[in-house]
């Protein structure tokens, strides 16, 4: 087994709601090593964002996290006190979010917000913080970096703000970077630039990158490993080539058929679809969550489904024998 920087085993997130308990994340296991990009992909409500927030200890109030193991560089985060988590967050593990327009505080300058984690985690004095901020802004491709420090977030475009967010996350030289839909709010041409930037920084700094997205195109472009989530579960996980090339889970297979590809998908013919809709996660269940929508469903799918793994480290949760 490779040495993982972040190792998550059987992570669950439960949210109490009016009608009972919402099992938003169920027994999700992930691992990510230095220099790797793990993409967590799934549709809205599948629990992918909550998984990343749970790792950072940033779940909304009320949500309950439990797991068999949650370790960062060998350190047990499950039992880490709040102060220890605060010391890690923004320092050795950093995070960026979906909405660059609202993720920066409108009342403070870019420079102040960039310096904040650096100063707080005791990496140096204000002068060093400023130098580091300028250096990183240049590195994320922002021109006239020094003059940007005195600007306010509203004076920058969405693409620039996301670059600032990335620079901010890198201020303390983190080992793990979590990015929750970092390009979803951006235009396609900007999206490519931001992804390129993330990929470059990851290479240069040897970051472990955990990227949460709904876009399989993004996944294909940057992932070394992919985890597909459905209804709170990781239904399939493995090296990117394996998951895209020989998807084992019917959900992954269906998802890939839904996406039109210019020049390949035949025009004028219906796209592949996944019939039905996601089951309610309130109350929880033992059987395969995809059973009602699966073209291969059979009686045995009502039983709890064990996870299977092949020699290449490709895991999936389905009772079907892999074909071909």
């Amino acid at each position: 087994m490779r040495q993982a920087l972040l190792d998550v085993r059987r992570l669950s997130v439960r949210i109490p709601v009016e009608a009972g308990t919402l099992h938003a994340v169920r027994d999700a296991s992930l691992a990510i090593g230095r220099g790797e990009t793990l993409c967590v992909v799934g549709e809205s409500g599948c629990g992918k964002s909550l998984t990343s927030l749970a790792i950072m200890g940033l779940l909304p109030p009320g949500a309950v996290r439990s797991a068999e193991l949650l370790s960062f560089d060998g350190e047990d985060l499950l039992r880490a006190p709040r102060s220890r988590m605060r010391a890690l967050r923004g320092n050795r593990m950093a995070m960026i979010f979906q909405e660059p327009m609202t993720s920066l505080n409108p009342a403070w300058t870019i420079g102040e917000q960039l310096a904040e984690p650096f100063l707080h985690h005791g990496k140096g004095d204000r002068r060093q913080a400023r130098d580091r901020a300028v250096e990183l802004l240049e590195r994320v491709g922002i021109t006239a970096a020094a003059s940007r420090l005195v600007q306010y977030p509203h004076e920058l475009s969405g693409g620039l703000r996301q670059r600032v967010m990335i620079a901010m996350a890198l201020m303390c030289g983190p080992e793990l970077l979590l990015a929750d839909e970092p390009t979803t709010a951006l235009d396609v041409t900007i999206q490519a630039e931001i992804l390129r930037l993330l990929a470059r920084l990851q290479r240069e700094m040897g970051l472990a990158l955990l990227l949460v997205t709904h876009d399989l195109g993004v996944v294909a472009a940057v992932a070394t490993r992919v985890a597909v989530m459905y209804a709170g579960e990781v239904v399939e996980e493995g090296p990117a080539e394996a998951v895209f090339g020989a998807p084992r889970h019917p959900y992954t297979q269906g998802l890939l058929r839904c996406i039109p590809i210019p020049g390949e998908t035949p025009r004028g013919q219906p796209l592949g679809t996944i019939p039905g809709s996601v089951p309610s996660l309130v109350g929880g269940f033992e059987s395969c969550a995809f059973r009602d929508r699966c073209p291969h469903a059979r009686a045995a799918c009502a039983e709890p489904v064990a996870e299977r793994m092949d020699a290449a480290g490709h895991r999936w949760r389905c009772i079907l024998e892999p074909s071909g």
Binding site: T189, I190, A192
Partner: protein
């Protein structure tokens, strides 16, 4: 040859904008002279990034906004001067956000039947029958009639919005990013539904999207917009195979496909989207264009019809063709 169903003629739309209550007024040109035709029964795909003016154009086609200059004809009649009831029989919208496009206080039946009510068509019983028929047409069941929008999923809501748009049997439907807010599996369902309905009912669509992959799938013609202007137009196969405008090429390269191993596309564009309040001189794309020469900053290339069915507003369009 019969006249196209939709004719957009030199449409310009300017807004006076204020950035604050007391800031000075400035002029924003959202649409800067667009001419497009949509033949009956076809789908015109309009592609562009946020701020390119495609949604403003959609509103003008719907008659919800008036052009500053130029005009829009549907079935040969100017939309801007039609009575609201007449207009609504010609053209109907399907919007992006299925959450805000349905009144939360109305039942599905009331929402879909509302156009008939406004037009004073039929008795309540007849209207109920028509609504039931529409529900079936968009793949919803009679049990959904009494539901409220909050009880429906995003895909179901979008089906309701489509049913409302089609109940008056309009010739033209303006789909403004109809699947952008939906998950991919639902997006495929809605795209299939739209294509099937078009074939069945002989509809024409003005289909607006930022997603080139989706547009090329459904459209019989494609127009690419940048900063209020159409920069390229043609049939989807040609535009896709031999894009003539560097912006189209950049857009095409930015479409990430679910195929591993291709990595990220090479950088195509310099700089960022310009401030629409101060559009660049000449070709509005020149500050970001890899091909730009001094001529581009001085002289705005026209959308050259000389190249036939495939038009592009670029000084180097002919070069790309070969």
């Amino acid at each position: 040859m019969t006249a196209p169903l939709l004719q957009i003629r030199d449409v310009v739309r300017r807004f006076g904008v204020r950035r604050g209550v007391f800031a000075p007024r400035r002029t924003l040109t959202a649409v800067a002279g667009v001419s497009l035709d949509l033949p009956r029964g076809e789908v015109l795909g309009l592609v562009g990034e946020s701020g390119c003016g495609k949604s403003t154009l959609a509103r003008i086609v719907l008659g919800l906004d008036k052009p500053t200059e130029g005009e829009v004809l549907i079935d040969g009649r100017p939309v801007a001067s039609l009575h609201r009831l007449e207009r609504s029989r010609l053209v109907q919208p399907v919007f992006q956000d299925p959450y805000s496009s349905l009144n939360p206080r109305r039942s599905v039946e009331a929402i879909i039947g509302q156009p008939l009510l406004v037009h004073g068509e039929g008795t309540p019983a007849e209207r109920r029958d028509r609504v039931a028929e529409m529900l079936g047409l968009v793949g919803l069941g009679p049990r959904h009639a009494a539901a409220y929008p909050s009880q429906l999923s995003g895909g179901q809501r979008q089906r309701v919005a489509i049913a409302r748009a089609l109940i008056l049997r309009p010739a033209l439907v303006v789909c403004d990013e109809p699947t952008s807010a939906l998950d991919v599996s639902v997006q495929a369902q809605i795209l299939n539904l739209l294509m099937e309905l078009r074939a069945r009912l002989g509809l024409s669509y003005l289909f607006i999207s930022h997603n080139l992959a989706v547009v090329q799938l459904v459209a019989s013609r494609v127009a690419v917009m940048y900063l209020g202007r159409v920069v390229e137009e043609g049939d989807p196969e040609t535009v896709l195979r031999t894009p003539a405008h560097p912006y189209t090429r950049a857009l095409l390269a930015s479409v990430l496909q679910p195929r591993p191993g291709r990595g990220l596309p090479d950088p195509q564009l310099a700089g960022s989207f310009p401030n629409p309040l101060e559009p660049p001189s000449g070709c509005a794309f020149h500050p970001r264009c890899p091909l730009a020469v001094p001529r581009c900053a001085a002289e705005r290339p026209g959308l050259d019809p000389a190249t036939g069915e495939h038009r592009a507003a670029c000084h180097f369009a002919a070069l790309a063709e070969t």
